[in-house]
């Protein structure tokens, strides 16, 4: 059970990495327009 002492922080830190990725995605404008891409998807392009 002693492994928990370092496993919990590591797990949280790992989760933190994904929060960071989410932050990058938001900054990159991935969530700015949620209405156009779903329509665009239906236009089968060349």
């Amino acid at each position: 059970m002693n492994a928990l002492i370092w496993l919990v922080p590591v797990a949280v830190a790992l989760g933190g990495v994904f929060v960071g990725l989410f932050l990058l995605a938001v900054r990159g404008g991935q969530f700015d327009d949620l209405d156009d891409p779903p329509r665009r998807m239906l236009q089968d392009d060349d």
């Binding site: 928990l4 327009d33 329509r39």
Partner: protein, 810 residues
């Protein structure tokens, strides 16, 4: 929807009837557009489109002096609103033609809003060339100002809070397990400290919008719903810190983080819906043309950006041009179309001394105008500013806020009673535990969520039916409407000139003569001929004489088209023999049905008009409106709305003109027509985005459904709070029970908000059953056929209607 591909006797591009076989074009404009599309290898457009293309008009130019943004890598970029896009294929073809143009590095046209983003290499191409390409395809680009940046911070806050909530939940679950199976103190410490470390940014940063809301409410003297929320967050966090440091008791940090995450989710959804409505409204606002022609001191003429025109400057405006500034006519005559500002669809004659508004259209004639206002002070610019400001106004007290003070007071009262009761009767240690439990479960999470979620779903449902409402307040007012007042011109009627009566043969010759004229009468005649499937003949030697009429030769004979009094045009042949075409403003197709449904749904309907009695009587009779009032001034309309309100009514008023402004503002819900003046859109609470009046019916139904869901949810959450607070005061609540109860109550609220759309559909279905056999006239018919929005998607406003604004038949 049927595909619109080539057939004999129709122009392959715009679908107008022509004399000839396959591939005969009605005009050179269509032929050019067709060649551009073929040249770019995009002929698939003609197989896939769902509507015929608009007929290309001449580009008015002036793009060379527009401000473009220069990017760091040397490219230029610009944001445009493209008007006239009719279906998804229109967007597709515009985007691809631009992408394949030389020097274009990025071209993106939004299917949802018709906004375009262009980036190009200034060494290879320039904006005028790109704008002309869009024009040549038949669409009308307009420059858009700065983009309102969506609030990304809120989304980050939500992301962080959700991440933390999940992790703290996991740690808390271990702690709860520890109650039953025992747990070493050092692990308990580890879990508590980790939870606290995670919860700290949530309480201090993620919850900041609630603190801000509570504070701004307090400053303006009312207790906002954010206040009890902030109170709960502060108390929970303070308690969590104390428990962790002391190493005794239960922290409730899982409840805290879950609470903040859920509330932020509600906020994000609400903000999304509001931004969409605001964007749609801004898209409708007009902009000044790019340039104006100014007289120089030496008597010459120079073309300058309209932003550089100053009061006192003399400018020249020719037929077919938009005024680049507000001003006064100095010399010349002409006919002006001011629908944009006044909502009046009929062109009016202009002469020296009269005022003109920037961005309105000079239909014919030529004028010299003295500028009275600089560009940023012009009427249209001020309208656009007003729209933007209205979009991000501060929150007003809502029905939830009316509950908030009682809620807070009751909670504090019960908490004090619990503290004292337990303290005196049992002991202060247990008193503190019970009091914290009361404050935790009393957090109005479900109550605070009930409104934004259901409102977002309701706004989405209304917008899918063609009614774009400014905010949740307007939606809830709309739900309470029990009196309806309608303006006549442009609301009950279509507001555009249409041919009421004409023989096919007369119409054919007239349409041939008027084919290339931009005058509203000419457009009405050509449109009617196209609708009747009459092939347009080729006219020769056409001469348009301002204020008199038009003449030319068709089929070898000379014809003259001239005014024959109000609403009548005479076609005169060589022998001075004349036949008449009667024109007028026709009642909307669905008006009668909408009126009868509204009467059943929202109470008596009143028709108000500035027109004379005979017209009002005719329109009222056709639309099935029992009571009507005519000859009303704008103030009288507002006064009438006020008297309806004084009688205890909640009034819905729909109108379209500048003259409807006071009444729109006075009404509890003022709805403007998107084809109306920008000023009416500015003061209105909502806009009918489609060309169909049935949006009003759909809007009322959506509002009713949302209001019902909100009411039920508020009752539910209050009942939950009463029960839970009772249990907590009795000392029966521990962190585990709180962690289960609170999210469950919130999820019930979320689930029922998703049912708003289903409720509206059920209502509509009931109506359809009742009138079985009648056609479905819902305004929601998606222009994209099937590319709809999933039912119940809270906050998802519809693109299909958002694209309609600015989409008049060209």
């Amino acid at each position: 929807m049927s595909k619109r591909s080539a057939e004999a006797g129709r122009c392959p591009h715009c679908g107008a009837a022509v004399e000839g076989g396959v591939d005969t074009f009605c005009c050179t404009g269509c032929e050019t557009a067709w060649e551009i599309i073929r040249g770019a290898g995009l002929q698939r457009y003609y197989q896939e489109r769902e509507a015929f293309a608009p007929r290309p008009e001449q580009d008015r130019g002036g793009w060379d002096t527009l401000p473009v943004t220069e990017e760091a890598d040397g490219t230029c970029s610009v944001r445009l609103q493209v008007d006239g896009l009719r279906c998804a294929s229109c967007v597709w073809v515009t985007e691809h033609v631009l992408q394949r143009a030389d020097g274009v590095q990025e071209a993106h046209v939004s299917y949802a809003t018709g906004r375009a983003r262009l980036r190009w290499d200034p060494g290879v191409t320039a904006l005028p060339a790109l704008a002309q390409t869009i024009h040549a395809l038949g669409y009308r680009p307009r420059l858009l100002g700065e983009e309102s940046r969506p609030d990304r911070t809120l989304l980050v806050r939500l992301g962080v809070a959700t991440f933390v909530a999940m992790n703290v939940m996991l740690l808390s679950a271990s702690l709860y397990a520890g109650w039953f199976s025992g747990m070493e103190d050092r692990f308990r410490q580890l879990f508590h400290w980790t939870s606290l470390a995670l919860a700290t940014p949530v309480a201090l940063w993620c919850a900041a919008p609630f603190f801000a809301g509570a504070w701004s409410g307090l400053r303006r003297g009312f207790l906002h719903m954010d206040l009890p929320i902030s109170l709960a967050v502060v108390i929970l966090y303070g308690h969590g810190v104390a428990v962790t440091i002391l190493g005794r008791g239960d922290a409730y940090l899982d409840s805290l983080t879950m609470l903040v995450a859920l509330l932020l989710a509600g906020r994000v959804l609400e903000g999304h819906g509001r931004r969409r409505a605001a964007e749609a409204a801004t898209s409708l606002a007009a902009t000044l043309p790019a340039t104006g022609r100014r007289f120089t001191e030496g008597g010459g003429m120079e073309t300058v950006p309209s932003g550089e025109l100053l009061p006192g400057d003399r400018i020249a405006v020719g037929a077919g041009e938009e005024f680049p500034a507000d001003g006064v006519v100095v010399a010349g005559r002409g006919t002006v179309r001011t629908a944009l500002v006044t909502g009046e669809s009929r062109p009016a004659a202009l002469e020296a001394g009269q005022r003109v508004f920037g961005a309105t259209l000079l239909v014919d004639g030529a004028l010299e105008v003295q500028v009275t206002e600089a560009a940023e002070a012009s009427t249209v610019s001020r309208m656009a500013d007003g729209l933007r400001n209205a979009a991000d106004q501060e929150a007003r007290p809502t029905s939830a806020d009316r509950i908030a003070p009682w809620f807070t007071a009751a909670t504090l009262l019960v908490a004090t009673a619990t503290l004292l009761g337990w303290g005196i009767l049992v002991g202060w240690g247990q008193a503190l535990t019970a009091t914290v439990a009361v404050l935790v479960v009393a957090c109005p999470c479900a109550l605070a969520l009930s409104r934004p979620l259901a409102a977002a779903a309701g706004l989405g449902a209304a917008a899918r039916r063609g009614l774009l409402l400014r905010n949740a307040d307007a939606l809830l007012e709309l739900a309470a409407v029990d009196r309806v007042a309608l303006d006549k011109t442009g609301t009950v009627t279509a507001g555009a000139m249409e041919v009421l009566e004409a023989h096919d043969a007369t119409l054919r010759v007239a349409a041939g003569l008027e084919r290339f004229s931009g005058h509203p009468v000419a457009r009405a005649i050509v449109r009617e001929a196209v609708d009747r499937g009459i092939p347009l003949p080729r006219a020769r030697g056409v001469r348009e004489r301002a204020g008199i009429g038009i003449e030319g030769r068709v089929d070898g004979a000379a014809w003259r088209l001239e005014s024959g009094g109000p609403g009548v045009v005479h076609l005169v042949d060589e022998g001075e023999c004349c036949t008449a075409i009667r024109l007028g403003d026709r009642i909307r197709e669905d008006a009668a049905e909408v009126v009868s449904t509204l009467e059943a749904l929202a109470g008596p309907v009143l028709l108000m008009t500035g027109d004379d009695t005979t017209v009002a009587e005719r329109v009222a009779a056709e639309a099935g409106i029992q009571s009507w009032e005519s000859g009303m001034s704008p103030e009288q309309k507002a006064e009438r709305v006020r008297s309806l309100q004084a009688g205890g009514g909640t009034v819905l008023f729909a109108g379209d003109g500048l003259n409807d402004g006071p009444a729109l503002a006075q009404a509890d819900v003022g709805v403007a027509m998107s084809t109306g003046s920008a000023s009416s859109i500015l003061v209105a609470h909502g806009v009918v985005g489609s060309s169909s009046l049935s949006a009003l019916v759909g809007g009322v139904r959506a509002a009713r459904a949302a209001a019902k869901v909100i009411r039920v949810n508020q009752l539910r959450s209050i009942a939950y709070n009463v029960v839970a607070v009772g249990l907590a005061a009795a000392g029966w609540i521990n962190p585990l029970v709180a962690a289960i109860l609170m999210p469950v109550s919130s999820l019930v609220v979320v689930a029922s908000a998703a049912r708003v759309e289903a409720r509206v559909r059920r209502e509509e279905g009931r109506l359809l059953e009742a009138q079985s056999g009648r056609a479905d006239h819902r305004g929601s018919a998606s222009r994209y056929g099937g590319v709809g929005v999933a039912p119940g998607t809270a906050g998802a406003l519809p693109g299909s209607t958002a694209i309609l604004p600015g989409n008049e038949a060209a």
